[in-house]
Symmetry: C2
C-alpha cells in the first residue's frame, strides 16, 4: 500500500465510494461496503463488462445460487484443492497464511506455488514468528477457504458458499446447451457474489472475503477449435510474459499482438486468445493505459488443478504494484468430465457425423471489486490541492452537475427545473446549490462527474448555460434546447467537449 | 399451485427463464437458477424498481456484505426473533414448519402470528402427523432461520448471512448521513442477495432460501413528518385492508386513494403513504392490473418486532392466490436505537435549533424473485395453442426478433447486418433463421419479445421491413432508415405499434 491508496481511501470514506464494513462495531477484516458513488461506479463497470463480453446472443447469462451442496465442490475438486497453508500463533492464537508471511519476510514471489514442503522449510529457515506478538508459530496446516453452513433444520445437510461462479455454469451446461439451440460454440456467463474465507485478509480492497465475480465459460468442440470472431481483436497489442519467460530470467514482457501470440503458440486456444483481446479492450476502456497492462502465464505448479494454460491479466497500480484483475484459463474438458463422473449425468453432445464429445472450455474471469479499484485509482489526479477522478464518461456515477450561480432571482427555480428535465431524459444529473460555485466544482470533480452546468443571470435572457469540463476546467456556452442531446452524445463518446458549445 | 404454474414452469425450463437448481445432483429444495431470458427479465425489473424508487439524489444506494458478525443481529433483535416453529418427524426425521402444517390441514390463515402455545395446541387438536410417512411429530422448537458460518481459520468468529438488507443501511446510517450532506430527509437503498434458512421450502418460486431483495430506508425527523413528494402520488387509487378490517369480518378491500388513506389515518406516516403510492405505480408498470393488487395491514401480533405499522403489498396470481410481493413498514426509531445501544455509537443528529434526535424510518421492501414470478405469470396468455408472454416493452429480455424470410438470395446477409446495426444502436435484438417463419414467431412470443422484424424479397428493392406485433399479431411495413429510431421510441412508450409503419 502507499500514499495514493491512503489518499483515495480517505476520499472514498468521506464521499461515499467505499469504506470498511461494520465500522460502528469495530470492523471485520475482509469486508467492504460501497456507498452511493461506489455502487453506481461499480454497476457501470459491470454493465461495461456485459457490453464487452455478453452482447452476442450465443452468450447466455445465468444466475445460480451462492450456496451449493457439498457434492458440487467434491466433484469439481474444490474440497480437495481449494486450501491454503494456515499457521497459528502459539501465544496469541492469531492465524496467518504461511506463504504470505514468507513473502513479506523474504521478497520471494508466488510462494503458494512452491508447495507445502517448501513452505514449512522456508518458515523454519527464516525463523518466521508471529508478526503481531513475536511468538513462535505452529506447523502450517491446509485450511479449506470456503465458507461452510448448514441447510435446513435438521443439521445434516451441509452447504458451501461458492468461491467462484464457474461451477454454476458447468452443472447447468446441459440446460444451457438446450437454450443455445443445441449448437456449439456457445457460452454461459454469470455475474454474482462469491465468498472466500481468507485466512488473514490484509491488503485492503484487493483481498476481501466477499466480492463480485464476472465469469464466462465458452464451450467449443475440440475438433473445431477455430474462433470466427478472432479477427475482431487480432490486431490488439498485448504485453505477454509467457510460461517460458516466467520460468526463466527474462521478465521484460514480449510486446506482440493477439494474432502473433496465436501464430507463435504462446496462447494455446484461439478462443482464449479472443477473450484476452476483448479483455485488453475492456480494461483499456476503464482507463488503464496499455503500458500498465500485461498478461502473465502461470507456471504448471501455480496453475489451478483444472487448467491447461492460464494467463493472468494484470494491471499496474501505484498502490499495489502489479495486481491480477482477471484470469484467462483454458479449462479443457476437466470440469464437465468431473461433473459427469460426480452426477452420472451424460455431459457429451453429438456432432453432425454422429460422434459424441465433451466440449472444451475457455474461461475469462474478472474480479469486479479489483477492477473498481483499478478504475478509481487510474483516474485519480491531484491538481491545485484538489482531488479529481477522471473517470470515463460512461462510467462516472453522475453524468453532469447542475448549479445555480446564486439561489435567488429565479436562478434556483431555473436550475432545479433543468435538473428535473435532464433526469427525466435519462441523464444522471446531480443538483448542487451548497456553498460557492468553486466548492461545488471541487465536489463535482471528487465525484468524478465529467461535466458541470451553471445557470447564471444571462441564462434568464439567452436560455443558454455554461458547461465546464472536469478534465481541463475549460468552459463552453450552449443553448438549453441543445443540452440534452449534446450531453447524451458526449456521454456516448460521439462528440468531444468542444462540440458541446462555443468557448467562453 | 395450479395448472398455470405448471404450464409456466415447463416453458421456463425449456426456454431458460428458470429451473430448480442442482438438477443433475437430484435437486436441493429452496434454490432456483435463472437462465438467459430469466436473468435479463429479472435485471430489467430491478432497473425499473431503481427508476421508480432511487432516481432522486436524496436516495443513496449502498452495497454491504451478505455475511455479518453476530453482534449486528443481536442488536437488531434477529437472533431473538427471527425464528420459526420447527417440528421433526419421530420416524423419518424430516423437518417441517409447524404453522404451515396446521394451515394445510385446517384452512386457518396466518397461524405463525398466533404464537407458540396456539401452534402446539393446534398440532395436538388436529392430530397432525408427518405428511411424508404418517408418523407422530416431535414437540415444535424455535429454529433460527438464519444461515450460520465461521469466519477465518481459528473457528471462533461466527458469521450470519443477512436475511434482509435493512441492517446494512442502519449500521451505516452515520456514513450515509455524512454523504447526504447532513440533512434529513434522505434514504439509503440496497439491492442484493439475502438468505433465509427455510425449514421446509415447498411453494416453488415463492419460498426460496436465497433471493434478491430491493429495500429502501427513508430517514426523517419525527417532528417534521411531512413528505413533500406526497402530491406526486396522492391521487393513486389503492385497495386497502386496514388493521381494523383485518381484525374484523369485513375482508372486502376499501377502495380509496393515497390522499384519503392519509386523511383518514389508515396510514400513519406520510412517507409510508408516499412509498405505497410509488409501489402501486411500480407494480402496475410490471403489468399487474389494479384489481389484482391490494395492501393488507398486519395485526399487531403478526407485525415484526420493529414495526409500528406494516402493510403488505399483495398481488393476486392464478397460481398462488394472494401473494406478498412487498412490505411497507413504519419502523420508527427502533433500529437506530437498537444499534446505538449495541455499538455505543451515537446515532442522534442535530436540528437547526440545537436539539438532537434519532430519525424515524419508513421502509418499502420488495422481493425481486416474487415480482419476477408475478410479472411473468400476469403476462402469460395461451392463444391458438401458442404460449405468449405479453411482457411490458421495456422489461422483455429482447426488444425485437430479426428474421430473414429465407436464408438464400442475400436475405440472410441483409438480416444479420440489420441485427448487427440494431445491437450496436443499443437495441436488444435476437437473430433467428431456424425453421419456418411461423415457428420463429412462436419462439419469439414465448420469449416475450414485443416485436419481430422480417427481411423479405421486397426489402432488397424498397429497403423496408415488416414489423409484427406480439400482442395482436398485426403487421406494419417500415423503412430500415427509420427502424432504429422507431424501435427505440416504441420501447420507451413514446409511440404505439401503429406509429412504427404503415399497415400491410
Amino acid at each position: 500500500m502507499s500514499n495514493v491508496y491512503d489518499a483515495i481511501t480517505a476520499i472514498a470514506k468521506r464521499r461515499g465510494y467505499y469504506w470498511p464494513s461494520y465500522e460502528i462495531y469495530g470492523g471485520l477484516s475482509g469486508y467492504v461496503t460501497y456507498g452511493d458513488l461506489g455502487t453506481k461506479l461499480k454497476r457501470n463497470i459491470e454493465n461495461s463488462w456485459r457490453s464487452h463480453f455478453t452482447r452476442h446472443q450465443r452468450v447466455l447469462e445465468i444466475d445460480a445460487p451462492i450456496i451449493n451442496p457439498p457434492i458440487v465442490f467434491e466433484a469439481s475438486g474444490h474440497i480437495a484443492n481449494f486450501r491454503e497453508h494456515s499457521t497459528e500463533c502459539t501465544s496469541c492464537g492469531r492465524s496467518y497464511r504461511a506463504d504470505h508471511l514468507i513473502e513479506e519476510k523474504t521478497n520471494l514471489e508466488n510462494v503458494e506455488a512452491m508447495g507445502g514442503e517448501a513452505i514449512r522449510r522456508l518458515l523454519r529457515e527464516h525463523g518466521i514468528k508471529c508478526p503481531r506478538c513475536g511468538s513462535p508459530l505452529k506447523e502450517p496446516t491446509l485450511f479449506l477457504t470456503m465458507f461452510k453452513t448448514q441447510i435446513g433444520a435438521t443439521g445434516d445437510t451441509p452447504g458451501y458458499a461458492r468461491p467462484e461462479a464457474a461451477q454454476g455454469m458447468f452443472i447447468n451446461f446441459k440446460r444451457g446447451y438446450q437454450h443455445a439451440r443445441e449448437k456449439t460454440p456457445f457460452a454461459l456467463a454469470q455475474i454474482g457474489k462469491v465468498m472466500r474465507n481468507e485466512i488473514s485478509p490484509r491488503r485492503g480492497m484487493t483481498r476481501v472475503r466477499e466480492y463480485t465475480i464476472m465469469e464466462l465459460e465458452l464451450f467449443f468442440d475440440p475438433q473445431d477449435p477455430k474462433c470466427p470472431q478472432l479477427k475482431d481483436v487480432e490486431g490488439e497489442k498485448i504485453r505477454l510474459i509467457t510460461e517460458k519467460m516466467e520460468a526463466g530470467e527474462e521478465k521484460k514482457p514480449l510486446e506482440t499482438t493477439i494474432r502473433d501470440a496465436v501464430r507463435q503458440e504462446h496462447i494455446l486456444a484461439e478462443w482464449q486468445a479472443y477473450y484476452m483481446g476483448v479483455s485488453k479492450q475492456f480494461v483499456s476502456h476503464l482507463g488503464v493505459p496499455e503500458e500498465h497492462q500485461r498478461f502473465r502465464a502461470h507456471l504448471p505448479e501455480e496453475r489451478a488443478h483444472y487448467s491447461a494454460q492460464t494467463y493472468d491479466h494484470e494491471v499496474h497500480l501505484g498502490s499495489f504494484g502489479w495486481l491480477e484483475i482477471a484470469g484467462h484459463a483454458y479449462r479443457t474438458d476437466y470440469d464437465l468430465k468431473a461433473h459427469q463422473k460426480g452426477s452420472g449425468e451424460d455431459m457429451t453432445i453429438i456432432r453432425k457425423d454422429g460422434t459424441r464429445y465433451i466440449p472444451h472450455v475457455v474461461e475469462p474471469s474478472f474480479g469486479l471489486d479489483r477492477l473498481f479499484l483499478a478504475t478509481l485509482e487510474t483516474s485519480y489526479e491531484r491538481r491545485d490541492k484538489r482531488n479529481i477522478f477522471k473517470l470515463p464518461r460512461d462510467l462516472a456515477p453522475f453524468n453532469v452537475s447542475v448549479f445555480p450561480l446564486v439561489t435567488k432571482d429565479g436562478l434556483k427555480e431555473k436550475a432545479t427545473e433543468l435538473n428535473r428535465i435532464l433526469i427525466k431524459s435519462g441523464i444522471n444529473a446531480y443538483y448542487d446549490e451548497g456553498g460557492s460555485v468553486g466548492r461545488r466544482y471541487a465536489r463535482s470533480d471528487e465525484a468524478g462527474t465529467p461535466l458541470a452546468v451553471t445557470i447564471d443571470y444571462d441564462t434568464l435572457n439567452d436560455d443558454a448555460v455554461t458547461v465546464r469540463d472536469r478534465n481541463t476546467w475549460k468552459q463552453v456556452r450552449t443553448p438549453i434546447s441543445q443540452l440534452v442531446e449534446n450531453l447524451r452524445r458526449y456521454t456516448a463518446y460521439e462528440i468531444e467537449f468542444g462540440d458541446i458549445g462555443v468557448p467562453t
